[in-house]
């Protein structure tokens, strides 16, 4: 699938914080493993680095996973709210349809 790119503000997903604490720091619920289709997201990926970003401009962010080798994987979001699920991870491609790969050692 060719992914169309649209302009998004770099911090678009980060500007809606309602947290304005001077004297407190937030706490979080116990972490939960994210799944990509029926697999644990990131399993088998070398040093997975997740980023959510709306790449195709449909208003729904995709999940991008960078790895140590310089590759990027992408999963599409399905559902919303408490029932968010992610599709199987697949390589993000360049405009010529090849998996994107950043130079590495």
């Amino acid at each position: 699938m060719r992914i169309r790119i649209v302009l998004c503000a770099v911090l678009a997903t980060s500007c809606s914080s309602s947290f304005a604490a001077e004297d407190t720091v937030p706490t979080f619920h116990a972490p939960v493993q994210l799944m990509a289709d029926d697999s644990a997201m990131g399993q088998g990926v070398l040093y997975p680095s997740p980023k959510m970003q709306d790449l195709n401009g449909d208003g729904v962010p995709e999940m991008l996973i960078g790895d140590l080798r310089g590759q990027l994987l992408v999963a599409e979001r399905q559902g919303s709210g408490d029932s968010v699920q992610w599709s199987r991870l697949k390589p993000l491609e360049t405009a010529d349809g090849k998996p994107i790969k950043f130079d590495n050692w």
Binding site: I5, T13, S16, G42, P50, L64, G66, G70, D82
Partner: protein, 336 residues
């Protein structure tokens, strides 16, 4: 490799900006057709942007330079993360470069524009208070976000921690920007995710190599964390029966035999190729790895290891991605 999605060249398309383990930042420019093949970021002198340590693609060896940092007393600094950030609020992206070894962050200023950048080639230390930025456990990657919604861009950073052993694992820290727009200053870090003590019987959290994204995941108006990293755990061991103990002993003898054969084969090739060039030696080793004999040995090794692990579980280390949703009901007092 932590990607940043940003319109790096101000052409209206989102680009992918990142540093890799080779020591330098790269960018894959976006276009109406999609992303282009990534290219390396060069400074105004046409040289690679880096800290000190880098992979030299010509010599095919790790290399080091002192050209980018004045009076460096840290030894080797290895850039593995980078962000485009308008540090001085002059309308163009400067660079933030994260170091894996000491947990430092440096900035490199852009004296050009986004469309025609001119990075100076000189790295300036980023500070926390009066001291150099130093993230305990080494930085995986920093992330730009106005965490406390005060209009200034903070940093949220993950750390590696002890990546393989039992020592303290990684964490996630918030560095509040207490400076001004155009002149950031960072406060001492606040723990968002505590350093891992490890020692669990199942995978319960990312324990090392924590890479963080900050998003409002569930749309409740507060920022959550998505964290990639390695979980370390040791499955509980049940007491083995006599038959199981006997079987494990047999398997371990077979495993030692296979390992000995693999080692002997490798040693033989290394000895035979000691006078060859590096490339010739690598090619010869690859030939051996492609032989049926070597493949069979590796298959046997894997099979035996898995069989032993079924009876006698070993320490586990696997990568996952975790979601930390904000708990709106509790807040911790922040130490100042």
């Amino acid at each position: 490799m932590a990607p940043q999605f940003v319109d790096f060249n101000a052409d209206g398309n989102v680009d992918i900006f990142t540093a890799t383990f080779d020591g330098s930042p790269h960018v894959a420019f976006g276009s109406a057709e999609g992303f282009q093949v990534p290219q390396r970021i060069m400074d105004a002198n046409g040289e690679r942007v880096l800290l000190t340590q880098f992979w030299n693609y010509e010599s095919k060896e790790w290399d080091d330079t002192d050209r980018t940092i004045e009076s460096n007393s840290d030894g080797q600094l290895h850039c593995i993360s980078a962000l485009a950030f308008d540090w001085d609020d002059d309308g163009d992206f400067d660079l933030l470069l994260g170091d894996k070894n000491k947990g430092r962050i440096f900035r490199q200023m852009n004296e050009g524009t986004n469309m025609e950048p001119a990075f100076t080639g000189k790295n300036i230390p980023v500070l926390t208070g009066e001291a150099q930025f130093e993230l305990k456990g080494g930085i995986t990657a920093p992330y730009l976000v106005d965490w406390d919604a005060d209009g200034r861009t903070d940093l949220v950073c993950g750390s590696f921690g002890d990546s393989y052993g039992d020592k303290e694992g990684g964490a996630v820290y918030w560095y509040r920007n207490i400076g001004k727009i155009g002149a950031p200053q960072y406060a001492k870090p606040v723990n968002l995710i505590e350093p891992s003590a490890k020692g669990q019987a199942t995978a319960t959290r990312p324990d090392s190599g924590l890479y963080v994204d900050v998003v409002d995941y569930n749309g409740d108006g507060s920022l959550d964390l998505i964290v990639g990293g390695y979980s370390h755990w040791t499955p509980e061991r049940k007491a083995l029966t006599e038959d199981e103990l006997k079987r494990v002993a047999e398997l371990e003898v077979q495993l030692a035999d296979v390992l000995k054969s693999i080692t002997e084969l490798r040693s033989k090739v290394l000895l035979e190729t000691q006078d060859l060039s590096k490339d010739e030696r690598s090619a010869k080793l690859q030939e051996v790895y492609d032989t049926d004999e070597y493949r069979q040995q590796m298959t046997d090794y894997t099979k035996l290891s898995q069989e032993v692990a079924k009876v006698k579980p070993r320490n586990k280390r696997e990568a996952f991605v975790w979601l930390y949703l904000r708990d709106q009901t509790q807040n911790r007092a922040r130490s100042r």
